[in-house]
């Protein structure tokens, strides 16, 4: 009788070992997340795998280490999708640029990826896209974010541990699933990323439905779960402390940082107004400016610039079509701008501000600047009563 059980256990161990081994080799060869150097071809370009975006936090952390850029871009999905690789040739031809931004990247994550990049490569400059929601302290780091995979910990002490990434890329159901999909061609190319972290295209052309869908998320989750606060999720810091640490690290390492506040659509600013967050929004800008100036005095160096694109201008007030027949030029929804606008942003940061788009925040002019934005809003709601009413009724569903 005992031999039946011996045979059973032997079969169990042989089959399990074989399955584990086969699965690991298969995932390594197929490399569905492009983390072991496998590249794919799409529209005549060398690109990362179609599943790269499903593990984007891992992909970009590893990408930074492998690509070794001297110029880094960080920020949320606006920064991730708003810039095409074209900007590297046009505006930064002598630099090796990596776009390390990813959707939902909080300011804490920006700091941690900056620390990671600084420990992994020799950085010269960083462009950081700033968004108000990134400073909502209740948002914990994104689900795919892992402290362990980053080269240093929060205090900049080396701490990398790739065991989890090894597990998730070679010994996981997810990796196996994506490998099979990659091999059978079932992976859809929803988002295509180049090896330098840039997306090949933005989110598409916006119209009223894409705007409403995005705005609902902001009203019900992004700005409001729970009430907006600058106190960080760990209760030990404020989100401004993370911003300050970015500046301190940059000064310590001799890296130039250019901050820019994203140019979302005016309906996004109307959401902020209707949710009662306008004062916090203004405070956010003033506080960031104050911190850059405090740190520049402490380090006796010139302050890092904050370009503010979040104003009322010909781009942000672009009419939102009620049907799909008149495509928008500058926006995919009220949050995400097009890569065409991304080109203009970079042009204005590198070649100097044109048409007042992307004004540099300064202590002496910030009061007037903020006042002008308030006036811009008044003008906007007069000229776009339907948009203002849409936002008001959406916010009313929450209150």
């Amino acid at each position: 009788m005992n031999h039946i059980f011996v045979a059973y256990s032997r079969r169990f161990f042989i089959i399990s070992t074989l399955l584990f081994g086969l699965s690991a080799v298969f995932c390594y060869v197929v490399d569905p997340f492009s983390v072991y150097g496998r590249v794919y071809f799409k529209v005549g370009k060398v690109v990362n795998s179609p599943a790269f975006s499903s593990q984007i936090q891992m992909g970009k952390a590893i990408g930074i280490k492998q690509y070794k850029p001297d110029t880094l871009i960080l920020g949320s999905s606006r920064t991730d999708s708003g810039f095409s690789a074209k900007i590297t040739q046009e505006f930064l031809p002598d630099n090796k640029v990596y776009n390390g931004a990813y959707p939902g990247m909080t300011i804490y994550e920006v700091l941690r990826y900056f620390q990671h990049a600084n420990a992994s490569t020799s950085l010269k400059q960083v462009f950081i896209g700033l968004d108000f929601f990134q400073f909502h302290g209740s948002h914990r780091p994104n689900k795919g974010f892992s402290e362990e995979r980053l080269a240093v910990d929060f205090n900049n002490t080396p701490s990398e541990n790739n065991l989890n990434d090894l597990q998730s890329t070679l010994f996981s159901g997810g990796a196996l699933f994506y490998s099979i999909k990659a091999l059978t061609g079932l992976n859809k190319w929803k988002k295509v990323y180049l090896p330098n972290g840039f997306k090949t295209k933005g989110y598409g052309e916006g119209w009223i439905d894409t705007f409403s869908n995005s705005e609902e998320k902001y009203v019900h989750r992004v700005y409001t779960t729970p009430n907006f606060t600058f106190v960080s999720f760990d209760k030990k810091f404020t989100t401004f402390d993370y911003f300050r640490k970015i500046i301190q690290l940059a000064y310590d390492q001799g890296i130039v940082v250019n901050f820019f506040i994203s140019p979302s659509h005016a309906r996004q600013w109307e959401l902020i107004k209707q949710l009662g967050l306008w004062n916090k929004w203004e405070h956010w800008k003033r506080e960031m400016l104050a911190i850059t100036e405090q740190e520049s005095r402490a380090y006796q160096k010139s302050p890092f610039l904050i370009y503010d694109f979040s104003t009322y201008n010909k781009y942000s007030t672009e009419a939102v079509p009620r049907a799909t027949d008149t495509p928008m030029t500058w926006y995919a929804d009220s949050s995400h701008y097009s890569q065409a606008l991304g080109d203009i942003i970079f042009n204005n940061m590198i070649n100097g501000v044109e048409n007042n788009f992307g004004q540099i925040l300064k202590t002496e002019t910030v009061g007037a600047h903020i006042k002008a934005i308030r006036q811009g809003r008044e003008q906007y709601i007069l000229e776009h009563p339907q948009d203002a009413a849409d936002i008001k009724s959406l916010v009313a569903t929450r209150l």
């Binding site: 005992n2 059980f5 059973y8 079969r11 169990f12 399990s16 699965s23 996981s172 997810g174 929450r398």
Partner: protein, 508 residues
């Protein structure tokens, strides 16, 4: 260390098994037992070595008192003092923060003390040892050596989250010489039960957790979940909790069996129960047994009249609720179940019989309704979900249903119904989600449970009559087909461990 972690499965467990049987093969039984105790303490100390002193002091104290009670002093005072000390330690570590927080709210005080961190498994090993002391006082225990006693308390498969074992079941098993000889029968049966539990936990429970987490966090942030979204959230949580906790229990039972030890049954298809009393005979059975024997019956049980019996029922359930955690939500959950049991008790007296399907439906609905405070971290979240489940937050129906409304849709829209996708607040419903839900439904309500599958090989301590299903046709056997199936399940469960998740019952 979690059962569902690489380090446990591929490092700790093989080392402990090989060490145990290697020592046991040389007939060094006491050393083999010591090895198992040391391994169990290492397993316990992995989370926080500082807690080791608590469990060791607890064991030394209770063994000393037990020895005194059995040998020299048949003192009721000693028993009461010893139980009081055990309970005081439990109350201090588990309920002191809760007491201070409640006092601050109720009496509007502002007392702030350093947070006391709950030592892992204190509820479990305290209960097991209280039972041991009471039975020793009653003269119902034999004399056991200290090593066996340590193994009874610390044996790692059951240490963290049960099943809550009884000394009568465990200590005689540890005394058997045959335990120390490698037995492939036990190893294979244990491995198979462990894998079935592992699959329940890593694949089924964790695969459902994302939706549950999202919907409950929405409810707690104030989004008024509509009827179907609210029911889907609570139902999915019911599935998640069942597969999580019964999966954990299966893993514990399987692990113990690899060492030749048979643990008691903890779940017996509770969601198939036709009334709430049967539900409690099938859900977390070892806790129900403890509460019955050491709380409900000593309170008087049903021996002191009907009213007193109902009060005892309610008291037992509320205290049982609080055993799960120091929070008003657990008291509410316990209170709800107390009420359900009272209603069922009265209903039985009335002698009205309901069709089986309706009584099952009523039972499962009540259980799902009561899970809400068990999961929600705030009273607001609980009320929000309950309102949704009662239809007070309106109804959402799929857009395509408008085609079948024959003009009623405008009337429905005026009465809190919207046609915007049934779960639109939580996300769109995909075909895979529907199939997943159907799978959970079939496995929970229509398939045999683990001990029924394994019934030909004595998977649990209880006799087969207590769980067998006469109409069952699917059984585990040590065949080629089953070994392939179990190996595939094991590999698939391991591959699903990409993100290590905590067992839900760890907080208790």
């Amino acid at each position: 260390m979690l059962f569902n972690s690489y380090i446990f499965i591929f490092v700790f467990l093989p080392i402990v098994l090989v060490g145990f049987y290697a020592i046991g093969a040389k007939s060094h039984h006491r050393i083999a037992s010591s090895w198992l105790v040391a391994a169990s303490l290492f397993f316990y100390g992995w989370w926080n070595p500082a807690y080791l002193s608590i469990i060791i002091i607890s064991m030394l104290f209770n063994y000393a008192v037990g020895t005194a009670l059995s040998e020299k002093i048949k003192s009721k005072t000693l028993l009461i003092v010893a139980i009081a000390i055990n309970l005081l330690a439990l109350v201090y570590y588990k309920y002191f923060n809760f007491f201070i927080d409640s006092l601050n709210v109720l009496a509007d005080t502002d007392i702030h003390l350093e947070k006391i961190v709950l030592p892992l498994a204190i509820s479990f090993f305290t209960f097991q040892q209280i039972a041991y002391l009471i039975d020793t006082y009653r003269g119902e225990t034999r004399e056991y050596n200290f090593l066996s006693y340590c193994l009874f308390v610390t044996f790692f498969p059951q240490l963290i989250a049960g099943p809550i074992v009884h000394h009568r079941e465990m200590l005689p098993q540890f005394a058997k010489n045959s335990l120390y000889k490698l037995n492939y029968r036990h190893l294979v049966i244990g491995l198979s039960i462990f894998t079935l539990g592992f699959f329940k936990k890593a694949v089924l429970a964790d695969g459902t957790s994302e939706y549950v987490g999202l919907s409950f966090s929405l409810a707690e942030s104030g989004v008024p979940l509509t009827f179907f979204a609210a029911w889907a959230s609570s139902l999915c949580y019911a599935f998640q909790l069942y597969f999580d906790f019964s999966g954990y229990s299966d893993m514990a039972i399987g692990l113990a069996r690899m060492f030749g030890i048979v643990l008691p049954m903890n779940f017996n298809s509770p969601y198939k129960a036709k009334n709430i009393t049967i539900f409690w005979r099938r859900w977390h059975m070892t806790l129900s047994r403890f509460l019955r024997d050491y709380l409900y019956i000593p309170l008087g049980g049903n021996r002191k009249g009907k009213v007193r019996q109902l009060i005892n029922l309610m008291l037992t359930m509320v205290l049982g609720g609080l055993w799960h955690g120091a929070g008003w939500n657990f008291a509410i959950w316990g209170g709800l179940h107390g009420s359900f049991l009272i209603i069922h008790n009265i209903w039985q007296k009335l002698g009205i019989k309901l069709p089986k399907l309706i009584s099952w439906w009523l039972t499962i609905s009540a259980v799902i309704f009561a899970w809400v405070p068990f999961r929600a971290s705030s009273l607001e979240g609980t009320l929000n979900l309950w309102q949704g489940m009662l239809g007070m937050n309106g109804f959402l129906l799929p857009k395509w249903t408008t085609h079948f409304m024959f003009g009623l849709d405008s009337w429905l829209v005026a009465h809190h119904v919207a046609f915007a996708g049934i779960l639109q607040q939580v996300g769109s419903v995909k075909l895979m989600d529907v199939l997943w839900f159907v799978l959970l439904f079939i496995l929970t309500f229509l398939m045999p449970n683990t001990q029924q599958l394994m019934q030909r090989y004595r998977p649990v301590f209880e006799s087969r009559d207590q769980y067998k299903n006469t109409r069952q046709i699917l059984y585990w056997q040590p065949t080629l087909l089953w070994s392939v199936f179990i190996a595939f399940s094991f590999v698939y469960s391991t591959l699903s461990l990409t993100r290590i998740s905590e067992f839900l019952y760890f907080q208790f």
